[in-house]
Symmetry: C2
Subunit: 220 residues, 2 copies
DNA sequence: TATAATACTGAATAAAAGTTCAGTGTTATA
DNA sequence: TATAACACTGAACTTTTATTCAGTATTATA
């Protein structure tokens, strides 16, 4: 039987310029195809509610093929989480330098998260995945590290702002959680927003985080 | 066969004081038992990940009995959502009067949410439930109303603060979403906290929401 | 060109989960 | 006390889902 997939590409390498192994190329391609579909589905429907069959339908490739490229559903999900992490780090490293102050960095982070569509590592699916009793022993640890890593990221960012004298605050750990909570909640709401609206809301959230809404007279 | 349940209670009504129908009493009791177990499980594991079998194990009553009291899993979940809503409204009505200013009300709300354990109507399970394609046509509408109701609640609260001249802000709708996002995110994080830590974090979040963290000089 | 390695298919398997239902006690009604 | 209505059981039924595997097509290797 003929697979339609095999007919495309592979013509590009007229001579021997970037003549990578065709099989590796193919593997990368379908692995990406599966990952992309799965990422969207997990983010939209959650972990448990996304079936292999869903991914089969979305990709057009067979169930067996998915298990050829990934150990199992859990492995696929874990792969996506770690991919997201490294991807985020990479993009952040690029952008970070553009922002002089910590405040600018925070707005930049919010923007990146808003534009990111299916975004936060602690997305609904990840949270569900984490909280779900049946956990391979090593898996839980890996996720715990991710959560911690994300909070550490926030904390360091905020600490930078304190060192810069941009903020005045003591409880940095608490604020890291607050900031993450805000982004986490916005992520859920933003799924029902247009891109522009999401951007605006994230920006407003950062306004609030930085400046609050109460008149400066009261309470404090 | 004897059901152990039937042996308890029913002795209380010595004469004919509050002699309610024994069957109604029994129905209420088991319905509550099922609801309580289901609520805890849904909140902990999520909607899809909680099976009827889980509820059977937690309650000790049979699967058939659950379907005797509730139309199906979806109906059970919906029942819990609406119960949460009315329950929240009731408690809020009691407390609300104790808080003179809107700022106090906001802190009060945060406290109530922090103490509430399994709390927010837009909890992980609800969100998962909502986003999950296969939705009975009427169900989606009912949930949509709930979400809207909750945002309206926030918005009215904030509007009160503006009318009182406690806040100065324009985008009330946006702020209602921000506030909800914050509570939503905190809800997820607070699952991994002790009661005291949760309370403190919620309070800090409200500090930030009201006053921000940046020095007043910058940006604005 | 022959052989091995690789990328896949698609149906089968098995476990899990939602739902139904015939039947059994228990309580209300007449 | 007899009969109807009710609360409930537990196993059977159906659907869904993750996972495996024997086999096929394609590509690399010798």
């Amino acid at each position: 039987m003929l697979y339609g997939v095999h007919l495309e590409k592979s013509v590009i390498q007229k001579s021997g310029e970037i003549d990578v192994n065709k099989k590796k190329q193919q593997t990368e391609q379908t692995k990406k195809k599966i990952a992309d579909a799965a990422r969207a589905l997990f983010a939209q429907k959650g972990y448990k509610a996304t079936s292999i069959e869903d991914i089969v339908k979305a990709t057009g490739c067979s169930a067996g093929n998915i298990y050829y490229h990934f150990k199992n559903k859990e492995g696929l999900f874990l792969y996506l989480l770690e991919e997201w992490n490294t991807e985020w780090d990479k993009r952040w490293l690029d952008k970070q330098t553009l922002y002089p102050t910590t405040i600018d960095k925070l707005y930049g982070m919010a923007e990146q998260l808003a534009l990111d569509q299916l975004n936060h590592p602690l997305t609904k699916a990840a949270d569900e995945f984490f909280n779900n009793s049946e956990k391979a022993p090593d898996v839980e640890e890996r996720i715990h590290e991710m959560v911690k890593g994300y909070l550490d990221f926030n904390q360091q960012l905020l600490q930078g702002g304190i060192d810069n004298h941009e903020f005045e605050t003591t409880n940095v750990t608490g604020l890291a959680i607050i900031l993450d909570s805000l982004m986490l909640g916005l992520n859920q709401h933003s799924r029902r927003m247009e891109r522009a609206e999401a951007l605006e809301t994230y920006r407003l959230a950062m306004d609030v985080f930085l400046h609050g809404i109460a008149k400066p007279t009261r309470t404090r």
